[in-house]
């Protein structure tokens, strides 16, 4: 976090303790990778716990997950139509994973993997490749009409513009998530230096809201791009 202001990262220390250390005393596996593995393990454990005893009348953890996934599915189907069910698992995974990463960064001794540009860029590249794949799968070679614009004589002009526009989506997706979460970390660290606890506790509530918004925006934009790839070209 923010230029080494964070006192201790528990998982990194644990990895150092079992001997994965280079010559300079840093851990061999980068911190963001370690923490994304940690949150993946947490998610896998929680989801196995939720689905171990599935009952028709959901209770406890199962009830919570049915609520989250049910409302996400309603949202996707309302926006994309029935096609949305084909890509819904990916979108819901993205939302839950990003939300866990963002909120996990607020715990002491932990770090948000999404506060590193490599994590967010990898997810944005995946979304980009995924929606182009669906575009090609559905439209075949006609997918090129998505890039050529409405009129055929304008195609040489529109093609580079559309290609740049599509690559820009990748950049804006990754930069926005990274910038917001990293900014939260820096603000928390600086406020903690100025007025410990008194100033940081209220900020936690603001940042929890911001984390949900950021995860939701990533999810929603991926959905909109997929929707654009599913539609016929104008």
């Amino acid at each position: 976090m923010a230029g080494g202001l964070h006192p201790i990262f528990l998982v990194e220390e644990a990895v150092k303790a079992i001997g994965l250390v280079d010559a300079h005393g840093h851990s061999l596996i980068p911190g963001n990778v370690l923490y994304s593995w940690t949150f993946m393990i947490v998610l896998i454990l929680v989801s196995t716990m939720a689905t171990k005893k599935i009952s028709l009348v959901p209770r406890g953890l199962q009830n919570f997950f049915e609520f989250v996934i049910g409302s996400l599915e309603d949202f996707v189907v309302a926006n994309m139509g029935e096609d949305g069910r084909k890509v819904f698992p990916v979108l819901a995974t993205l939302f839950i994973y990003i939300l866990t990463c963002n909120v996990g960064g607020l715990f002491p001794g932990s770090d948000a993997p999404t506060a590193n540009i490599n994590t967010t860029a990898s997810m944005a590249v995946f979304v980009f490749v995924y929606y182009q794949y669906w575009g090609f799968k559905i439209h075949g070679t006609h997918y090129i009409h998505h890039f050529t614009g409405p009129m055929i004589w304008m195609a040489p002009l529109m093609f580079p513009i559309e290609v740049i526009g599509h690559f820009a989506r990748m950049l804006s997706l990754s930069l926005r998530l990274f910038g917001n979460i990293r900014g939260e970390d820096i603000v928390l660290a600086l406020l903690f230096m100025l007025a410990p606890v008194v100033s940081t506790v209220p900020m936690y509530f603001l940042f929890m809201l911001a984390d949900v918004i950021q995860a939701f925006v990533f999810f929603m934009l991926s959905m909109l791009y997929l929707k654009g790839a599913f539609e016929e070209a104008h």
């Binding site: 309603d74 513009i161 740049i164 526009g165 820009a168 989506r169 950049l171 804006s172």
Partner: protein, 87 residues
């Protein structure tokens, strides 16, 4: 359910609105970087960079314009009084 409510449609529009600025900037950056490396490859400094910068600016504005249309649609949906839901 949760995301269909009227209040949450404003919430979605807020999320989209927070993307406006970065959409504009990222188009310009991608255009310029693409032009820069194409220039390096073909050795035609600085023409391709200028051309792709202009393309990038157009693409950035196009992305922003589309986003704005989406927000307007969302807001129009959110402002319609619906009878079946109370919040």
């Amino acid at each position: 359910m949760f995301f269909g409510k009227k209040k949450n449609r404003h919430f979605q529009a807020l999320g989209l609105a927070s993307m406006m600025g970065i959409h504009l900037v990222s188009g310009v950056i991608v255009g310029m970087v693409m032009g820069y490396y194409l220039d390096k490859y073909f050795g035609t400094k600085p023409w391709l960079m200028l051309l792709f910068l202009i393309f990038g600016i157009i693409a950035g504005y196009r992305n922003m314009f589309r986003e704005m249309q989406r927000i307007q649609k969302k807001e129009a949906e959110a402002d319609v009084p619906d009878n079946d839901e109370k919040d």
